[in-house]
C-alpha cells in the first residue's frame, strides 16, 4: 500500500484553489518581479550548492541571486555558515565564485581580512579608526544556513521556519533516498529568454508530455489516471508516475522497446508475457520484485531503503518556488530557474544531473547528457541560443521544454491572453501562483 502523507492535498482537485487568475503581467512586469523579491525571495530557503563541494574547512560556495550574493563556508567543526558577500568596510564583494581553501576572506580593495567564521581579523592601519580598532569587533553579516538532501540551503529571513519545516513533508517522503551520496556528473547553467516561473509551471503538470515529449510515454506511463498528483501546504507538490509503458501509447511492432531492455537487465524475459498489457502491468510488478531480490548482489546499494514505489517510479517534485527534483531509482535530477537581476523576461536554468555511486563504477548514464564519467563535474554556463548552445541536450526532455520558452513568454504578453484555462491535472500550476500571491499579499 502506497504511503500518502497526511498533509497531502489532491493535486488534481481544483476545489483546493481560490481561482486566482494567472495573468500575463506576472511574467513580464518589473513591478511584479520587485514584489517577488521583497515578499518571497527574501523569505524562502535558497539552494547555494552541493555539500560535496565543501571538502575541507575554508571551502565555500557562492550563490549570486538577483543583486544579492551569499557565501556558504565550511567551518572547522564541519558546520556550514552563510554570510552576505559584502565587505564590512566599504561593501565590496569579497569573492566572485565558489572555490576552495580560504584561510580567510581578503577584500581586494583595502585588504581587510575576515575569518571563515565571519570575524574581522586584520585591517591596514588599525589605530586610524576614531571609533576604535574594528578587528575582533566587526563581523560579516550572517544568514541562517542548513543542509538537506546533500544541498546547502540558506535563507535571508531571520523569522523563516526551520529548513525541514519549510520543506515539509519532503524530508519524510524522501527519507529512503541517499540523496547526500549523489554525485553531480553534469552541472550546467543555461540562459533562457523567459520568466523564471515558466519552469515551475511546466514541471507542475504532465499534461504537455504527449505533445512535447513523445519519447516519454513508452517508459513512463503518461495515462492521467495512472498518475498520483499531490500538493502540500507550503507550496510544494509532485506527480508520481509509474515507470512502465503507457497502455495507450505503443511503439510500432519491431521497434526496440526501452521497457524490454529494462526487464532483461533485471533478468526478466519480456517474451514471457502473453500480450503488451500484461507485460506492462505484470512486468512492472515483476521488476519491483527482481530489484528487491537482486539489488544487494548487484551492488545497487542506494536501493537498500527504497520502497516498492521508489524502486520503479518517478516522483517529479517541485520544491516551492523554483526547484524541481526528479527522483529516479538510480539518478537524482535537480532543475532550477532563477530570475535575471534586471529583466523579468529572462532567467537562468540550472541543470544538475546526479547519480548514485556503485562500487567500481567509472561511468554512469546521466539520463539527459549520455554516459559520463562518474565524478563531480565542473560548471558549464551557456546561453540556450535556440538550442545551439546546448547541443548535447538536443532531443532531451529539458531541451524540448526550453524550445517553448520564448514563444510562451511572448504569448503571455499578448492582449489575447488573460488567464490560463486549466485541466484538473494542471491544478498545481494555479496552486503555485496562489502560494506566490500568499507571500506577496501577506498571507504567509
Amino acid at each position: 500500500m502506497t504511503e500518502i502523507h497526511p498533509l497531502t492535498m489532491k493535486g488534481r482537485d481544483p476545489s483546493h484553489l481560490r481561482g486566482d487568475p494567472i495573468t500575463g503581467d506576472r511574467y513580464y512586469s518589473r513591478d511584479f518581479a520587485e514584489k517577488e523579491w521583497q515578499h518571497m525571495w527574501t523569505r524562502i530557503w535558497h539552494v547555494a550548492g552541493r555539500v560535496a563541494e565543501l571538502e575541507e574547512p575554508g571551502d565555500y560556495v557562492v550563490h549570486d541571486f538577483l543583486h544579492e550574493s551569499v557565501i556558504c563556508v565550511l567551518q572547522k567543526d564541519d558546520s556550514i555558515r552563510a554570510f552576505y558577500n559584502s565587505c564590512g568596510h566599504r561593501g565590496l564583494r569579497l569573492v566572485s565564485q565558489s572555490s576552495w581553501g580560504a584561510e580567510r576572506f581578503h577584500c581586494p580593495y583595502h585588504g581587510w581580512e575576515w575569518g571563515i567564521d565571519g570575524t574581522l581579523l586584520h585591517v591596514q592601519d588599525p589605530e586610524d579608526f576614531p571609533q576604535g580598532n574594528p578587528c575582533g569587533k566587526l563581523t560579516l553579516k550572517e544568514l541562517r544556513c542548513d543542509t538537506w538532501g546533500g544541498f546547502v540551503w540558506y535563507t535571508m529571513d531571520d523569522e523563516a521556519p526551520e529548513l525541514l519545516d519549510y520543506l515539509e513533508p519532503l524530508p519524510e517522503v524522501y527519507r529512503n533516498y541517499p540523496m547526500d551520496t549523489a554525485v553531480r556528473v553534469k552541472w550546467m547553467k543555461i540562459d533562457l529568454n523567459c520568466n523564471w516561473k515558466f519552469t515551475t509551471d511546466n514541471f507542475s503538470e504532465s499534461y504537455h508530455t504527449r505533445t512535447l515529449h513523445p519519447q516519454v510515454p513508452p517508459w513512463i506511463d503518461q495515462d492521467v489516471d495512472s498518475a498520483r498528483h499531490e500538493m502540500w501546504p507550503n507550496g510544494h507538490g509532485r506527480t508520481v508516475q509509474p515507470m512502465r509503458p503507457s497502455l495507450s501509447d505503443r511503439l510500432p511492432d519491431g521497434e526496440v522497446h526501452p521497457f524490454d531492455e529494462l526487464l532483461k537487465h533485471w533478468g526478466i524475459d519480456p517474451a514471457s508475457y502473453p500480450d503488451f498489457e500484461t507485460k506492462a502491468m505484470q512486468g512492472w510488478l515483476d521488476l519491483k520484485a527482481a530489484k528487491r531480490k537482486l539489488w544487494a548482489e548487484r551492488g545497487y546499494v542506494h536501493y537498500e531503503n527504497m520502497d516498492d514505489e521508489q524502486l520503479t517510479d518517478s516522483p517529479h517534485t517541485v520544491v516551492f518556488p523554483n526547484v524541481t527534483l526528479s527522483f529516479l531509482p538510480d539518478n537524482l535530477l535537480f532543475f532550477r530557474t532563477e530570475p535575471h537581476p534586471d529583466d523579468p523576461n529572462k532567467c537562468t536554468f540550472d541543470l544538475w544531473l546526479m547519480a548514485y555511486p556503485m562500487e567500481g563504477m567509472t561511468e554512469v548514464e546521466s539520463i539527459m547528457a549520455g554516459v559520463l564519467p562518474m565524478q563531480e563535474a565542473s560548471l558549464e554556463h551557456r546561453a540556450f541560443d535556440d538550442g545551439a548552445g546546448v547541443p548535447e541536450l538536443e532531443g532531451q526532455i529539458v531541451y524540448q521544454d526550453m524550445t517553448l520558452a520564448e514563444a510562451q513568454q511572448k504569448g503571455w504578453r499578448s492582449r489575447g491572453y488573460t488567464d490560463a484555462y486549466l485541466s484538473a491535472q494542471e491544478t498545481r500550476v494555479r496552486f503555485f501562483h496562489e502560494v506566490i500571491n500568499d507571500y506577496i499579499e501577506g498571507r504567509r
Binding site: E55, E56, D59, Q97, S99, G101, E103, H106, Q375, E376
Partner: protein, 102 residues
C-alpha cells in the same frame, strides 16, 4: 629549451604544490591525480602567489580570492581575470622531476 631538475618526484605529495625559483621566476609545481604540473606562481587577478592554494582535480585555487586555474592550460575560471598563466612541461626521469624552460 632546456630541462631543469627540481627535486625527487616523491617529494611532492598528491594534492600539494611546491614553489621553485628558476632563473629568477617563481614556478609552482603541483601534483594532482598523480600527474605533475608546472605553472607560473602568480595569480593574474591581483598578482599574489598561488602557493598555498588548494590543488584538486587538475585545478589550483588562488588562496586570496579563489580564482581557479587549469593546471594543464593555465586558463582561469570565473570572471575576476581572463588572463591565462604560463605553464611548463614536466618530465620524470629516474624518479627525478624536471621542467622544460626557455
Amino acid at each position: 629549451m632546456s630541462q631543469v631538475e627540481l627535486c625527487s618526484a616523491s617529494d611532492i605529495e598528491e594534492g600539494s604544490a611546491q614553489a621553485f625559483d628558476i632563473n629568477g621566476k617563481s614556478i609552482l609545481v603541483c601534483r594532482s591525480e598523480d600527474r605533475f604540473f608546472a605553472i607560473e606562481n602568480r595569480c593574474s587577478h591581483q598578482e599574489s602567489p598561488l602557493a598555498g592554494g588548494r590543488v584538486r582535480r587538475g585545478l589550483i585555487a588562488c588562496p586570496l580570492h579563489g580564482v581557479m586555474f587549469d593546471l594543464s592550460t593555465g586558463e582561469p575560471r570565473g570572471n575576476l581575470t581572463r588572463v591565462p598563466l604560463k605553464t611548463y612541461t614536466t618530465v620524470i626521469g629516474d624518479g627525478a622531476l624536471f621542467i622544460e624552460v626557455d
